[in-house]
């Protein structure tokens, strides 16, 4: 056995509401019912690993609303937090404040307290090193429904130990200047069952406000608003789904499929959220209002190219 194994670790003092290990996700298993999973907000995931100077697909700890409280034991280590997150480090009974998107040095016996995400949902913790986690079907992404991935497919639990490996030399102090912009208008492309709905229903879908309900998680966002009435059939033969698909339930309520969604579904698909708006969509917390705006495929592709360029610029400016 290696010497000094498990020398560096976090002890989970508080697990947070929904803390899971994630990476880029799991390709090519939809056909056996296993969704993509992976970090919900892909840009903030990439930025976290960029700041840690890690491989882009290195595991991160994702948290939602209230994050974990972790006690650190080991040699000095660089860490960073991304998202719009309120956190502190407790060092020898002193509270130290830091900001997101910067390298922070964590010392032996420090306590990292991730208090909350601000008017958003997900945040990420990355380390200059690697969380020692299990892989399943080429990914560590935790899927709590199929009970697969890191941590035996479970959320973080109180009292557990997270072992760390490949600890890097302390990284030079550096920061990405980035502001998480919020959106209320979600851009969508027409879905294959757009014509299942009356003209009035479509007008209302594209002009009225919808409330993001509390019944929202990594699988999907449930919305409440005007009922979207169906003029053809409220059920279809079950067929493949992708993330971002907006299904209208038999009750007339929209559900947006997110990264852990069921791989097939039997409700009509009125639209699909464009790829460029996905990272911002998942960050909209319950209680918010959103509106849908229809655009065409060509524009969606152009907007995605711009979004991708913006991400690449953030990365290259940092390096």
């Amino acid at each position: 056995m290696k010497k000094n194994m498990n020398k560096n670790y976090f002890e989970v003092l508080r697990p947070g509401i929904n803390s899971t290990f994630q990476d880029n996700g799991r390709n090519n298993f939809y056909h056996i019912g296993i969704p993509f999973s992976g970090a919900m907000d892909n840009r903030n995931f990439i930025l976290a690993n960029t700041i840690s100077n890690n491989e882009i697909n290195n595991p991160v700890l994702e948290f939602a609303y209230q994050g974990p409280k972790l006690k650190y034991i080991g040699e000095n280590i660089s860490i960073n937090v991304t998202g719009d997150v309120n956190f502190k480090i407790i060092r020898k009974n002193k509270n130290l404040e830091f900001s997101c998107y910067e390298n922070i040095i964590l010392e032996n016996n420090d306590c990292l307290d991730i208090l909350s995400t601000n008017r958003s949902v997900y945040g990420y913790l990355s380390i200059g090193g690697t969380f020692e986690v299990d892989y399943y079907l080429n990914s560590c992404s935790t899927n709590t429904k199929a009970k697969i991935g890191a941590n035996s497919g479970k959320k973080l639990e109180k009292g557990q130990i997270i072992h760390l490996k490949n600890i890097k030399k302390i990284l030079p102090k550096n920061k990405i200047e980035y502001l998480n912009s919020k959106i209320e208008n979600i851009r969508i492309i027409k879905g294959p069952h757009f014509d299942y709905f009356s003209k009035d229903a479509i007008d209302s879908f594209l002009s009225d406000e919808f409330n993001v309900t509390k019944l929202s998680d990594r699988m999907g966002i449930r919305l409440k608003g005007p009922k979207i009435s169906n003029i053809k059939n409220t059920n279809i033969k079950s067929e493949g789904l992708v993330k971002g698909v907006i299904q209208i339930t038999a009750d007339g309520d929209p559900i947006i499929m997110l990264s852990d969604h069921g791989t097939i579904g039997g409700y009509p698909k009125i639209g699909v959220v464009i790829s460029a708006d996905y990272d911002k969509l998942v960050q909209i917390p319950p209680g918010s209002k959103i509106k849908f705006k229809e655009i065409n495929l060509k524009d969606a592709e152009t907007i995605f190219k711009l979004y991708e360029m913006e991400t690449q610029n953030l990365i290259s400016n940092f390096k």
Partner: protein
């Protein structure tokens, strides 16, 4: 063959094979699925076959709807290769505590319990697709005399490994999950094994399933 290819958002193809549900159409879907799996077209991230549709999702950084659509349209299909598809035998225990809806079915179908099981076990079933939850197979077709509606109010928790029937289909709940199918028994075999890192699912689209009855004693033995 494919009747129409449209876009499902900006990062997926929606291939329409028709509106009916039958084995012939589904075999076409699965033939495309198998051929696409071997094609190595750049950027494909997932291929989801269902009764009569095939959804192909892709990485928008690597390819686009127009490019991939052309590739799929020009795909040269190799002869139908069913060597990947197997006949799988699944034991089912129909003890009272597992057959949660057998009483309801007797009333609904106006057939007695023995006849329901005799009919159910006399047929082989074809796997149209797997999914919704990990590994869950959608099997058909049931004998017409067993066509039954879903429960009016779905169960909040259907026990893992339950066998359910509704309309022309039957399935196996690979995890404890909410569900509205009529439950007629339970298998001791794990259809989805989340400990297995290769091929965790026992049943794949295109496979044929034959169910056979076992006693409570045999059921318990299988678990040991």
């Amino acid at each position: 063959m494919i009747k129409n290819i449209s876009n499902l958002g900006d990062a997926a193809l929606y291939c329409d094979f028709g509106t009916e549900v039958n084995k012939e159409i589904n075999r076409n879907v699965i033939n495309y699925f198998n051929n696409l799996r071997d094609s190595n077209f750049l950027g494909i991230t997932n291929i989801t076959p269902s009764y009569n549709k095939l959804v192909i999702s892709f990485d928008l950084k690597l390819t686009s709807f127009a490019k991939l659509k052309k590739q799929v349209e020009n795909l040269e299909l190799k002869k139908k290769n069913n060597s990947k598809n197997n006949l799988i035998k699944i034991p089912v225990c129909c003890a009272e505590e597992f057959a949660l809806d057998i009483k309801r079915l007797q009333k609904l179908l106006k057939i007695n319990e023995a006849k329901i099981y005799e009919t159910f076990f006399s047929k082989n079933y074809y796997c149209y697709m797997t999914g919704f939850i990990a590994g869950m197979p959608f099997l058909g077709d049931m004998d017409k005399s067993l066509f039954a509606k879903r429960l009016e109010t779905p169960r909040v928790k259907v026990p893992k490994n339950s066998i359910g029937i509704t309309e022309q289909f039957c399935n196996i709940y690979t995890f404890e999950s909410p569900g509205g199918w009529n439950i007629i028994g339970k298998t001791p075999v794990d259809i989805f094994d989340n400990k297995k890192n290769t091929e965790p699912n026992l049943i794949n689209p295109g496979d044929t399933i034959s169910f056979y009855p076992i006693s409570k004693l045999e059921y318990e033995k299988k678990y040991e």
